[in-house]
Amino acid sequence: MSFEEFQNQARLYVIGALEAEEAEAFELARKQFGQRAEDYIAQCYSMHEAFALSLRPAKSSDALKERLMAMVRNRQTS
């Protein structure tokens, strides 16, 4: 697999769209390309942020945050 092909597969990998048979070849190439591969995969994850940021933020209730913070503080004291 060339690095360009690996890049194509990496973009599919980060959104979980690699099929099982592709995943095996991808993991082999990932090892072969080493740190260069890891750096590229890390860059691909920026697409996750982009997809989330393409959405209009949704409103949550204040009670939800109060429950969350109460759980956190309870966990700290227990």
């Binding site: 959104i15 769209a17 691909c44 920026s46 942020e49 997809f51 759980m71």
Partner: protein
């Protein structure tokens, strides 16, 4: 067919204006003196609840929108949002800045939890049917009066959407089904009555354009 990435008016919904001088796909511009996301993560790693509170205020809207896009249920989305922030609190020690930014880590975590929840309900089996109706019936069901958070994010959203909207509708659909529904290529092919090879090509071309588009925007700024 209008796509899930888009609102009911499709690509024309948001004004297409000259991009603001703000980094796309990144955290919102912070008030002077406000802690960065990374500083908040480090504080959470030291078990500072106030840091989690600030991180929640900054990103609960984005993460809830993401969850809602996957599971389409307000009450379940709230429950999941609470669980996700608890997981952020509990798993913060596993976050490494060398592997990416805090928002990326949180989005990845939230997406995985939301898709797990969807699969547990087996609701994804009806995804094809929903896809046809939701853009007509409730494309922006969570739209509400603009909050300070929404205004802060709006420029970023416009920029990101500009990149996504350059894709043909079929590519947007394929990426949407993969990212927001957690579908495999075969599931996408079955749900859209499209040959598997075509789905693969659409995903590859679409993701490359998005990746390159985002990179180009970063490089310009």
């Amino acid at each position: 067919m209008a796509m899930d990435f888009l609102s009911k008016n499709g690509a024309q919904d948001d004004p297409v204006e000259a991009p603001a001088t703000r980094m796309p796909a990144s955290a919102p511009e912070l008030e002077p003196g406000a802690p960065t996301d990374l500083e908040l993560m480090h504080a959470i790693q030291k078990e500072d609840p106030e840091a989690l509170s600030l991180l929640y205020d900054r990103y609960n809207g984005i993460l809830k929108a993401l969850i809602l896009r996957v599971i389409h249920n307000e009450a379940e989305a709230d429950d999941l949002l609470q669980e996700i922030f608890m997981e952020i609190w509990n798993q913060a020690k596993n976050f490494s800045a060398q592997k990416g930014k805090p928002l990326g880590w949180m989005v990845t975590l939230a997406r995985r939890r939301a898709i797990d929840g969807l699969r547990k309900k087996q609701a994804y089996a009806r995804a094809g049917e929903r896809l046809q109706t939701e853009t007509e019936q409730q494309p922006d069901a969570w739209v509400h009066n603009a909050t300070e958070e929404e205004i802060t994010f709006s420029d970023t959203r416009i920029l990101v959407r500009r990149v996504i909207n350059t894709l043909p509708v079929a590519q947007q659909q394929a990426i949407n089904l993969a990212f927001f529904r957690g579908m495999s290529q075969r599931e996408i092919a079955a749900n859209t009555n499209t040959p598997l090879g075509t789905v693969k090509t659409r995903l590859e071309l679409g993701l490359k354009k998005i990746y390159d588009g985002l990179k180009e925007l970063r490089d310009e700024l």
